[in-house]
């Protein structure tokens, strides 16, 4: 099962999955049925083991499929030591390198017999490992997963080989101009936060990974501990059956003591700019970012800015219709405000068809931001966007694996699916004034960073 992907690919689609909203009173379409009022409608059971491990069991209407996600609340955010960026992602890879009881071949053989789909990914805030399989294999899969989280064992040569694969992944990503842009944007916009580096890490650190075997063991020892982990079991399961199995296989996992001192970002106090000269031919990219608030299910700011990203920059927005459809100067245009544990970036990006339009497109985006600070969005438009997000979210929960991954993403932020319902309740209260207030507070010139990228010869 060596098909990992890191935050860069994840982030691009994750934001739409997670972005969601509701506004029942204003909705032009019929009200949600009373029984379905909760955005996360599944009756889940949340339990804590004495060692600090959390278990969330979510029975769904699946007849025979189970999806397990193990969420470790450790991502590139936790990489606080100089020279050690990229280790959360490296560790995602190492977790497939086997134990004494289950060497990689045996591990794969069990998954084959279980007809399972399995993979893992790393983001800024967490790492997740998943397996989706038939219900009769529940005990075996839980035992095997428990084994690797407690008894991972790899030799220095194996470690070196895997760091080569990680460097290969870094190189593959680096062939993509948007990855380079993301890297430069993070480095330019942040000073203290660990969001200054991408989940892949700084190149020099990735290149030095082969020499860091001892540190890798230390990383495992610090973070692969029950108090950092939550197991999500969704599908054709009975919580009463799952709990004893988790007690049996995971109960002896020893609690750790490490807590990283993660630095907080200070106010930016002035606009910043940067530029990337891409060595090959490519279309120009314009990215405009603002420091936004951290994810919250109690304060409206994050939800309001998330709604704003769809209102102002999605494919039904006025700006999209102007730049992409009518004038055909840009393709695509999008904004992304992914939920983060610490304050993250609200990012608007556009690919420009002709280099001479870069300044124009940039001005148009800035004018749109200004407009949302000045005008109130029509309430019908807000209602439509929130209904779209709300129904899109409901439609995404269409199988046990997507139920599990959605729960996992929110568990990474608040360690409980409960935050989903709180967030949606918050969305339901959003008003046009909330949108304008958030735009005025966060989308300011002082907190802005603009990064552009142009290719050799300036065009394709």
């Amino acid at each position: 099962m060596r098909h990992h992907y890191s935050s860069n690919s994840i982030r691009k689609f994750a934001c739409r999955l997670i972005a969601a909203a509701m506004l029942l009173a204003l909705s032009p379409i019929s009200r949600l049925r009373a029984a379905d009022d909760r955005a996360f409608p599944f009756p889940y059971v949340q339990e804590d083991l004495p060692n600090g491990l959390r278990l969330v069991t979510i029975p769904t209407d699946s007849q025979n499929l189970v999806s397990i996600y193990v969420v470790v609340q450790t991502g590139s955010r936790n990489e606080v030591e100089p020279g050690k960026t990229g280790f959360a992602h490296l560790f995602e890879h190492m977790m497939f390198r086997g134990t004494e009881l289950y060497p990689p071949q045996k591990y794969d053989a069990v998954l084959t017999k279980a007809g399972a789909a399995s993979n893992a990914f790393t983001t800024d805030d967490f790492t997740a490992f998943y397996t989706t399989f038939s219900k009769e294999d529940l005990s075996q899969i839980l035992a095997m997963e428990a084994d690797r989280f407690q008894n991972l064992d790899y030799a220095p040569e194996v470690f070196k080989t895997e760091t080569g694969a990680v460097l290969g992944e870094f190189n593959k990503d680096s062939a993509d101009p948007s990855f380079k842009l993301e890297e430069v944007l993070a480095d330019t916009a942040f000073d203290n936060s660990t969001y200054k580096h991408t989940t892949m890490g700084f190149r020099k650190d990735v290149e030095d990974m082969p020499n860091q075997f001892d540190y890798s063991r230390q990383f495992f020892d610090r973070y692969y501990r029950p108090e950092y982990a939550t197991i999500v079991v969704a599908g054709a399961v009975d919580p009463k059956v799952v709990r004893p199995l988790v007690d049996k296989y995971w109960g002896n996992w020893k609690r750790g003591s490490y807590q990283a001192a993660i630095p907080q970002e200070h106010a930016q106090n002035g606009p910043r700019e940067n530029h990337v000269d891409w060595p090959g031919p490519t279309l120009p990219l314009v990215t405009i970012a603002y420091h936004g608030p951290a994810y919250s299910d109690t304060d409206k700011s994050w939800a309001a800015l998330d709604a704003l990203s769809t209102l102002a920059f999605s494919d039904t927005s006025d700006l999209y219709e102007k730049l992409v459809i009518r004038e055909q100067r840009v393709d695509p245009l999008a904004a992304d405000f992914a939920p983060h544990f610490d304050p993250g970036l609200f990012v608007i990006s556009a690919r420009v068809k002709h280099p001479e339009d870069i300044q124009y497109v940039r001005d148009q985006i800035l004018a749109t931001v200004k407009q949302y600070q000045t005008d109130l969005v029509p309430s019908q438009r807000l209602a439509n966007v929130l209904a779209h997000e709300r129904y899109g979210f409901a439609l995404s929960l269409n199988n046990s694996q997507s139920v599990a991954v959605t729960a996992a993403r929110f568990i990474a932020l608040r360690r409980s699916p409960d935050t989903i319902n709180k967030l949606f309740a918050l969305y339901a209260t959003l008003t046009p004034d909330d949108i304008r207030t958030a735009a005025r507070k966060y989308l300011t010139d002082d907190e802005r960073t603009i990064v552009t990228l142009t290719g050799k010869g300036g065009a394709q």
Binding site: D61, A109, T112, G115, A117, T132, D137, G392, L395, S400
Partner: protein
């Protein structure tokens, strides 16, 4: 929870008058999945207008209705987060979408108008025609070497049959098609006799009848003659190299098989596929030997059914049912200097497989994978509905029950006998997409061994095996290898 529920609630109703079929999977979910399938497709394209079936479906799914413009439809669907997708294959044309039950009424009204009262506007036609041309020339021919290789494999194997062109059509075919052609295709093939109505989820009990009644507005019968798909036999290994500028070489190889779902040997060949390895199965034989041990590419897989868009999907999509299928090996792109060695390795593995079958030690795992993986394939209600519709097409019970009962009965000898009977390591069509076609041709037809150089140390037994592989006789004469410039294909 209640494994029998699916079987009991799964039913196919056939009306004596209208002949449309209904596949219904009711649940208590608040979501509803709709699949409206017409048993028609690219195989019914007129000989001089390949692409007509695809454009007709695109016009319905991405065009206006008699009363609404396309923009109005998109705006009405936006608050519901809904849309109508279209998929056109040789024998099936599928319109599919999902909605929250709150919006079912509004969504269904739009869907019904789109399929039963198309607007046939010129500006929509121009747009969907541009989209189809770009999908063919930019999306497939320009930017997707793997998919191009797979599609050329099908085109070569089915040349001269109704499957002889890609579902998107050809450049010249699309150019030639008029709006009147679309209307005529719609009248001829969008009939009740070709229709399968699929509904799943928490829809009201009356919905299936209501849909059936509404769609009775379609003409009753399709008067087209029955489709005959008889691929010509292959008498010798042959290669098509599609030459284009590329940093790597994508390869596919295969041959038609006389086995589809419902045929006696389908379950056995599915076990064979499970052993060789479908997409993403890292313990598959091909993946292990080519990627895991030798690191030649990103993955290598085998299929006994059509699997388009594989590089974007973990699992095949439903509603691609066909009366004729091929066996194929999909070799993901390799560096040019490793292309001929990798092809020899795949042929070496195939030969080994056909001769010896599945090793006894791996047989049970392959069987179990085949049975249980159905649960992953049908993990969404929408996929389950699609598989149920395919089962109606093939005349088999629901897919999970069919595979579960049939595969569990199979013995090791039976599976190996089916492998020997239907699979082979000669008389293959091979397609390679990449640059330096002349060099590749020389390597494939010449007698010099094509040695491989690794960037890390390999075990002794692998190096020994490589000595056999590098000289593996592909049985190719110069006249068996055809080089075609990329701008000549799909024209």
């Amino acid at each position: 929870m209640k494994p029998l529920l699916i079987v009991l609630s799964f039913f196919i109703a056939t009306s004596a008058v209208a002949q449309s079929k209904t596949v219904a999977l009711p649940t208590s979910s608040s979501l509803v999945n709709v699949r409206i399938v017409f048993r028609t497709g690219a195989a019914m394209d007129p000989a001089d207008k390949p692409g007509l079936a695809n454009l007709t479906a695109a016009m319905l799914a991405r065009g206006g209705t008699r009363d609404l413009t396309y923009k109005q439809i998109v705006d009405q669907m936006f608050p519901m987060a809904a849309s109508v997708g279209a998929q056109v294959d040789q024998e099936m044309t599928t319109f599919h979408g999902s909605t929250h039950v709150d919006n079912l009424e509004a969504y269904y009204k739009l869907l019904r108008a789109m399929l039963l009262e198309p607007g046939w506007r010129e500006d929509d036609f121009k747009r969907v025609k541009d989209e189809a041309t770009n999908a063919l020339l930019v999306g497939l021919r320009g930017n997707n070497d793997e998919e191009l290789g797979k599609e050329m494999l099908y085109a070569d194997l089915y040349a001269g049959t109704p499957y002889g062109h890609n579902g998107l059509g050809t450049h010249a075919g699309i150019e030639k098609i008029t709006l009147d052609d679309l209307k005529a295709f719609y009248r001829q093939h969008y009939t009740q006799s070709n229709l399968i109505i699929g509904l799943a989820g928490g829809y009201p009990a009356a919905s299936p009848d209501r849909v059936k009644k509404d769609f009775a507005a379609l003409p009753e019968k399709d008067s087209s003659p029955t489709l005959a798909v008889n691929p010509a036999p292959i008498d010798h290994n042959r290669v098509e190299i599609v030459e284009k500028t590329s940093d790597s070489v994508a390869m596919s190889l295969g041959f038609p098989i006389d086995v589809k779902r419902g045929d006696p040997d389908y379950p056995a060949l599915l076990v064979a596929q499970s052993y060789l390895g479908p997409h993403r199965l890292s313990s598959g034989r091909l993946f292990q030997r080519i990627r895991e041990i030798r690191g030649l590419n990103y993955g290598d897989y085998a299929y006994i059914e059509y699997f388009p868009r594989g590089m974007f999907l973990f699992e095949p999509q439903p509603n691609l049912a066909r009366r004729s299928q091929i066996f194929q090996i999909w070799i993901r792109p390799v560096p040019p200097d490793a292309a001929s060695f990798t092809l020899r390795l795949a042929m070496f593995e195939l030969n080994h497989f056909v001769t010896d079958g599945i090793p006894a030690s791996d047989f049970e795992a392959a069987k179990e994978f085949a049975i249980k993986y159905v649960n992953v394939l049908t993990k969404t209600k929408d996929a389950e509905l699609g598989y149920a519709i395919d089962s109606a097409f093939y005349g088999i019970p629901d897919y999970g029950t069919y595979i579960g009962t049939q595969v569990s009965k199979l013995t090791h000898d039976e599976v190996n006998a089916a492998i020997r009977k239907h699979l082979r390591a000669d008389r293959l069509q091979i397609v390679a997409v990449g640059s330096n076609a002349d060099t590749l041709k020389k390597q494939l037809t010449g007698e010099d061994p094509t040695t491989i150089h690794y960037n890390s140390a390999k075990a002794g037994d692998i190096l020994e095996e490589d000595k056999v592989v590098e000289k593996w006789d592909l049985k190719l004469r110069p006249q068996d290898v055809e080089i075609v410039p990329v701008d000549k294909v799909l024209e």
